[in-house]
């Protein structure tokens, strides 16, 4: 009788362990944070950014999170987030949210003013904070910029980036006039960002041909 009770106890424990193993939450959602450079001449590239946002909206599923923020003089701020949303579980509601999101972006693109400085690091820090808070299964930061960081005097951005589990994708990294004179500047700039992301534990990719964006967001 005692043996039987022991067996039942062991079986119960095994079942609890199995149920615990099964019920361990594993997020399957995606979180995408897109930084749009609005400094100087790059503000003229916003039409391309709009296309990327539309493409991303088309790719995201119910339950995914998406935020678009501008990169300006001081980007480590919630005020720079143009629009952010977590799509509803129901596909019909998610579609309505996508439509509203698109309208907000259209309005922003029409009324945008270019900034004097480019605080990409601050934008990335804000993105890390946002995505960590949402805690999706896959975290992606899209940087639509020429990656030329120009900080206003007094702004400190030499903070190591904690990018473990993040994928950072630089999009449409245009060549500046000085890059054409000395291409090493462009290559050094890309390498510097790659090293910074890698040292933070993140994955780094560069996509300049916007026709080949299929791989950046999982189906």
């Amino acid at each position: 009788m005692i043996h039987h009770r022991q067996y039942i106890a062991w079986l119960g424990l095994a079942l609890i362990a199995f149920a615990g193993g099964c019920s361990k939450p594993q997020s399957h959602s995606q979180g995408v944070y897109m930084l749009i450079d609005t400094s100087g001449t790059y503000a003229g590239e916003l039409e391309k950014a709009q296309r990327i946002i539309n493409y991303t909206l088309g790719k995201l599923n119910p339950g995914d999170s998406f935020a678009v923020a501008r990169v300006d003089t001081g980007s480590f701020s919630e005020k720079d987030i143009i629009e952010k949303t977590t799509f509803d579980d129901r596909p019909s509601m998610a579609n309505q949210q996508k439509r509203r999101f698109r309208e907000k972006i259209d309005t922003f693109v029409k009324n945008v003013h270019s900034s004097r400085y480019t605080d990409i690091s601050g934008g990335i820090l804000q993105a890390i904070e946002f995505l960590n808070e949402k805690n999706p299964g896959k975290k992606t930061i899209l940087i639509f910029s020429d990656l030329k960081e120009e900080l206003k005097k007094g702004y400190k951005r030499d903070i190591p980036l904690q990018l473990g589990g993040f994928e950072v994708v630089a999009l449409n990294v245009t060549k500046l006039r000085t890059d054409n004179i000395n291409p090493r500047e462009y290559l050094d700039r890309l390498e510097q960002w790659r090293q910074r992301v890698k040292s933070g534990g993140g994955e780094w990719r560069v996509i300049n041909d916007l026709e080949r964006m299929e791989g950046i967001l999982g189906g």
């Binding site: 099964c22 594993q26 399957h28 959602s29 539309n54 493409y55 909206l57 088309g58 599923n61 119910p62 339950g63 995914d64 579980d89 129901r90 596909p91 019909s92 998610a94 579609n95 996508k98 439509r99 698109r102």
Partner: protein, 491 residues
């Protein structure tokens, strides 16, 4: 000092060293000949006997499986034959109830028809006109000679006139009677036809019963053979089981295809009900819910088929009394109907969602006009999807029939497969055992080949000493050598 240098017995003369080593090796092998032979023969014998025992065990297991398989086959076959006989008897019973229950009425109808026909016949029988009574008187008057008397001539003339008149009247009456009789005979025709039809109907019913009885005879023969447990019956059942298995597998594969289509119809709209981002054990909850709906439909279909006594997978349902069974039929059908309606609505929702997705994508790439054009004919796909959503659950109901065949035939097929696997294993074990046995013998021969020189010397020495010991040998024949006894012993 290298290993090669160690092996050099005579340094600088490798050939001499090799010969010396070979000689040493031959001597050592010669000295160890008998124990080595014993070891080789014993090892091969152990392996041979072990594998033979294993082969025997496997063969016994195969026999057991074959017996079990035969039992299963015969039992399944007996059940099937009994079921068929039962069905045939039910059909006969139904036929008897439906057709022969009306037999007394039919007989009465036939008797009435026959009576009517007889009456008509009697009425129609021709009555000869009665001969006029005054014919003889007329004949006598007619014989009176006229002898030119005008009086007599007048009388005769009047008689002639009266006679002609009476004849005409009789003829008219005769014609009238004939007409009536023809009319009566004509009236008999529908009665004859009706009688013919009734007889044909009876003939058909009887023929049907005769055919059914022949089918019962055939099934009874099969049943008898099964009960006699003949090998022929088992073989026939095995062959039939294999055929059933392949046919059922094919139909089940088609049903699985239908279920997959069904799943795709309802998986997407399910996200609207249970959410599109939740997961259960790594699978989307919406997908799991869609699968559950399909499985519930299949289960309902199974119960419906079971309640209708088309399949017999659940003895509990078959054993229910008719009232409860009919209730169960209605309940399962109602649930199936409800699920089919839900599926049709989900299919409709899927179409709406697809349209919404298309419109959103078009707005994202600025192609609204193009989408509006394609949407104009979408009602066809909407109707098709709804129709499929409604029909597929009912179609999946019939999966129960191949499933039953599959389950029953699977037992036999698995038994046959196990039997063949065991047979092949037994053969391979026996083959390996024999290979080990002959390998042992071959190794002994190879061993002797390696020490042919010492053996040759031994043989020569024996031949020489043989002359001296001939007398001894004549008195005490040579005892068999150890290896000879061993080699002889193993065969």
């Amino acid at each position: 000092m290298t290993f090669t240098e160690v092996l050099m017995i005579v340094p600088g003369f490798p050939a001499v060293s090799i010969i010396l080593w070979l000689t040493i090796l031959s001597v050592v092998l010669y000295l160890a000949r008998i124990p080595a032979h014993r070891a080789m023969i014993t090892a091969s014998n152990i392996l041979h006997h072990g594998l033979r025992m294993a082969a025997n065990s496997v063969r016994m297991a195969e026999k057991n499986v074959a017996n079990r398989n035969k039992e299963v086959l015969l039992s399944t076959g007996r059940e099937a034959a009994e079921r068929m006989i039962e069905r045939e008897f039910e059909r006969i019973s139904n036929a008897v109830h439906a057709d022969l229950a009306a037999y007394p009425a039919l007989q009465r109808e036939v008797s009435e028809e026959i009576t009517r026909i007889e009456e008509d016949y009697k009425e129609s029988s021709e009555v000869p006109p009665s001969p006029p009574g005054w014919a003889k008187a007329v004949e006598a008057v007619a014989k009176i000679p006229s002898s030119g008397d005008s009086m007599v001539a007048n009388i005769l003339g009047e008689i002639n006139k009266s006679l002609n008149k009476a004849q005409g009247k009789a003829l008219a009456e005769y014609r009238q009677n004939s007409k009536c009789r023809h009319k009566l005979l004509g009236g008999m025709l529908p009665h004859w036809r009706k009688l013919l039809q009734v007889t044909a109907r009876m003939d058909k019913n009887i023929s049907s019963l005769l055919e059914r009885s022949k089918a019962i005879d055939r099934h009874m023969d099969e049943h008898e053979q099964i009960m006699q447990r003949t090998d022929r019956a088992a073989q026939m059942l095995a062959s039939s089981s294999m055929t059933q298995f392949f046919i059922a597998s094919f139909v089940l594969a088609i049903a699985i295809g239908g279920a997959v289509i069904n799943f795709h119809l309802i998986a997407r709209p399910m996200q609207e009900m249970v959410g599109g981002s939740s997961y259960i054990i790594g699978f989307k909850t919406a997908h799991v819910a869609a699968m559950v709906i399909i499985f519930v439909e299949m289960a309902m279909g199974l119960f419906l088929m079971e309640s209708l006594r088309i399949t017999r997978l659940f003895p509990v349902i078959s054993a229910l009394d008719d009232k409860k069974r009919v209730r169960m039929i209605w309940v399962t059908f109602a649930m199936l109907f409800a699920l089919a309606s839900i599926e049709a609505s989900l299919a409709y929702m899927r179409d709406i969602l697809s349209q919404d997705d298309a419109a959103l994508l078009a707005s994202l790439v600025n192609q609204q006009g193009q989408v509006a054009e394609t949407i104009s004919n979408r009602w066809i796909t909407t109707a098709a999807q709804m129709g499929m959503g409604f029909m597929l659950p009912f179609a999946l109901t019939f999966v129960a029939i191949p499933l039953e065949s599959f389950v029953h035939s699977l037992r036999t097929v698995l038994g046959i497969l196990t039997m063949n696997t065991l047979r092949i294993t037994a053969f391979l074990l026996r083959l390996s055992g024999n290979l080990f046995r002959y390998t042992g013998t071959a190794l002994v021969q190879v061993y002797d080949l390696l020490i042919f020189a010492p053996l040759w010397i031994e043989k020569s020495a024996r031949l020489r000493s043989g002359r001296h010991t001939d007398d001894k040998h004549a008195l005490h024949p040579t005892a068999p050598t150890a290896e000879a006894s061993m080699i002889g012993g193993q065969s």
